[in-house]
């Protein structure tokens, strides 16, 4: 390895990219995306919460973006105070997405067509057989009842609380002072209705014989904040894409372009040895991709730049993608073939990962660098690195080494032509 030759080769790559505006534009676009991601931080996104609401709000496709709660004041002395109670208790993360809307009694009975991502809940009171009734209709997106979960969690609890308050006030007005209405089991608990149902069963059975139904205890906890957080997921995608772009796309296509045009031959005939030509590319592309990735990560979250985990992850990914890129570059003869190779690789890996995850096929995904890489980078970007992520990092390192060895072996067999 002679320094002056390496320097000339690396500078040549740099000048070629400087003369290629498309590549620069794409790099700037990636950086701009990172800037936008860190500047615009809408309410309800991000933060450290892991509630069901947030999980629902991060589902980009499907789900419910807005929920109308429609009601009519006619024929009812319950609905106005109930709506007032609901209005007061909309949780902050749903505030942008819940609209309470008054309607007249005729409209509320009509079927209404809603846009995708919009759901509605209708409250309607009427009297039948001399008794007051309250009818609640939930209209959810077709086939996706679960998307209503965050809204229903709020609605059922607060309706229960609200109806109890209204009942207590009415009883007070009737001078009933000793009515001891049972409060719901735990107010901040999504499972209050379930608990109450078990408790009611036990209560009723106990009236006949004590101890027939056991006391049911349920706990439900998040798994250490492992929900996918959208913003850091996007940041991870940008970082991975920057590296993929430099090492798996740019490197093979530019290399094959040089080969196709004969300039690679011209360089090979100069005193530069094949090893030096290869080394210059090894130096240039991962550094280019790594620098771009580090800038993006740094814009999103400057603190990651001081963590060992991030840099070892970045280094591993760069090395792995470099191996994949060099493999494609040695196998492809023309620029077009290299481009197709990069695309086919991306598609087939994504396909394998999707098939494995949807069909629950074990182990196979572990063989893909792309399975471990996003987990490693996402963990460091969202600041939640656990021991499992170190395992992912180790696996990624092994796969990166495999790809580098493969690329080196192929290069040796097929040569620089």
């Amino acid at each position: 390895m002679r320094f002056y030759i390496l320097r000339a080769l690396v500078l040549k790559e740099l000048h070629r990219h400087a003369a290629n505006r498309g590549g620069i534009a794409l790099g700037l676009l990636l950086i701009a995306a990172a800037v936008m991601l860190s500047v615009f931080n809408p309410a309800g996104f991000g933060g450290g919460g892991s509630s069901a609401t947030e999980a629902a709000s991060t589902s980009v496709v499907g789900g419910v973006q807005h929920c109308f709660v429609c009601y009519t004041r006619e024929n009812s002395d319950v609905i106005p105070p109930l709506v007032a109670h609901l209005e007061k208790t909309v949780p902050p993360e749903l505030r942008q997405r819940v609209r309470l809307r008054e309607m007249n009694a005729d409209r509320i009975k009509e079927g209404v067509y809603y846009q995708p991502g919009v759901a509605s809940i209708r409250l309607n009171a009427y009297t039948a057989g001399g008794q007051p009734h309250l009818r609640i209709d939930v209209f959810h997106p077709p086939g996706d009842a679960a998307a209503m979960a965050p809204f229903e969690n709020w609605l059922w609890r607060e309706m229960r609380v609200g109806l109890q308050e209204i009942a207590e006030q009415k009883l007070k007005a009737l001078k009933v002072t000793n009515a001891n209405l049972p409060p719901i089991v735990a107010e901040n608990d999504d499972l209050w209705a379930v608990r109450e149902s078990f408790a009611a069963l036990r209560r009723d059975a106990d009236e006949w014989h004590a101890g027939i139904v056991p006391e049911v205890q349920i706990t439900r906890e998040g798994l250490g904040g492992q929900t996918l957080e959208l913003r850091s997921a996007i940041a991870t995608a940008l970082v991975v894409f920057a590296l993929y772009f430099a090492c798996v796309y740019l490197l093979p296509t530019l290399n094959c372009e040089e080969r196709e045009r004969g300039v690679l031959l011209a360089q090979a005939l100069s005193p530069a040895s094949p090893a030096e030509i290869l080394m210059a590319k090894f130096l240039f592309y991962p550094v280019l991709g790594g620098a771009l990735a580090a800038v993006i990560a740094g814009i999103y979250k400057p603190a990651v730049l001081s963590t060992l985990f991030f840099w070892s992850g970045l280094f591993t990914v760069a090395a792995g993608f470099l191996g994949i890129g060099m493999t494609i570059a040695t196998l492809a003869k023309t620029q077009r073939a290299a481009f197709m190779g990069a695309m086919c690789y991306l598609l087939s890996v994504s396909l394998v990962l999707v098939i494995c995850s949807t069909n629950g096929i074990p182990f196979v995904s572990n063989l893909a660098l792309e399975y471990h890489v996003p987990r490693v980078l996402h963990a460091s970007l969202s600041g939640s690195v656990h021991s499992v992520h170190w395992l992912h990092l180790l696996a990624a390192m092994a796969l990166a080494a495999f790809w580098l060895v493969t690329a080196g072996w192929l290069f040796k067999r097929r040569g620089w032509q």
Partner: protein, 283 residues
Amino acid sequence: MSDAAIHIKSLRVQYGRFTAVDNLDLEIRKGELFGLLGPNGAGKSTTIRVLIGQRRPTGGSVSVLGHDVVREWARIKPLFGYVPDRENHFEEFTGNRNLEFFAELYGVPRLRVRECLEMVELEEAGNTLVRGYSLGMRRKLLLARALLHNPRVLYLDEPTANLDVHSAEVVHRILRERVSQGATVVLTTHDMDEVEKICDRVGIVCKGKLVALDSPLALKQRHTERQTDVILATGERRTFDMDRDADRQALADLVRAGATASLQTREFDFHATFLKLTGQAFE
């Protein structure tokens, strides 16, 4: 033995089943300007590709300046310059930048870039992107690149294709100059005049085989068609072969009888010789 720069011994090159070079034996002397001639697809470029080490021979051996091309490739690389048949520049760089890059690889001072550009009369186009070069300019830039490190051996695959008369002259002058300084030059061409004018020796190849090897002058002496074209007083045209007794006699009789209006001996025609040698001569 020691005055041979290039030894080609029983060289065979095959592309799959197709034999492009078939048992070629050739020695090219030091300080010689050697021309390789042959019809399209004869195997000229293939032979040069073997000489520069781009293509491995299927059989036989090739050595340049005493080094085996395959085994000691790295050692002979800096000794030769190569002008390929297909131009290969960085289109997005200027002519200057293209040469500077290679000058850096060869460890040659920047000054030499200017010199080489001037040599091929491209100094004014030096700061233009190669993308904007004409075909002839691209060819000349290839030559400038091959000259950067003052190589002892120069391989040129059709160096004057697409060049105007003046530029071709410039290239010829440069090549003769290199040869006079002791360099060995091997070029391929389809231009017969060029061969006659500048080559010390020519090899004619056809279908991968060497069919003639000599100096242009010797080829001329051997292959000049000794024929005389005559227009008779009656207006009839006839051709007499000077190697045949009967023809000579007949011509002498006509001249003596004063029956000839004009009489012309044939010039040496390299083109006809070439066609004859490559087995494609017309009757």
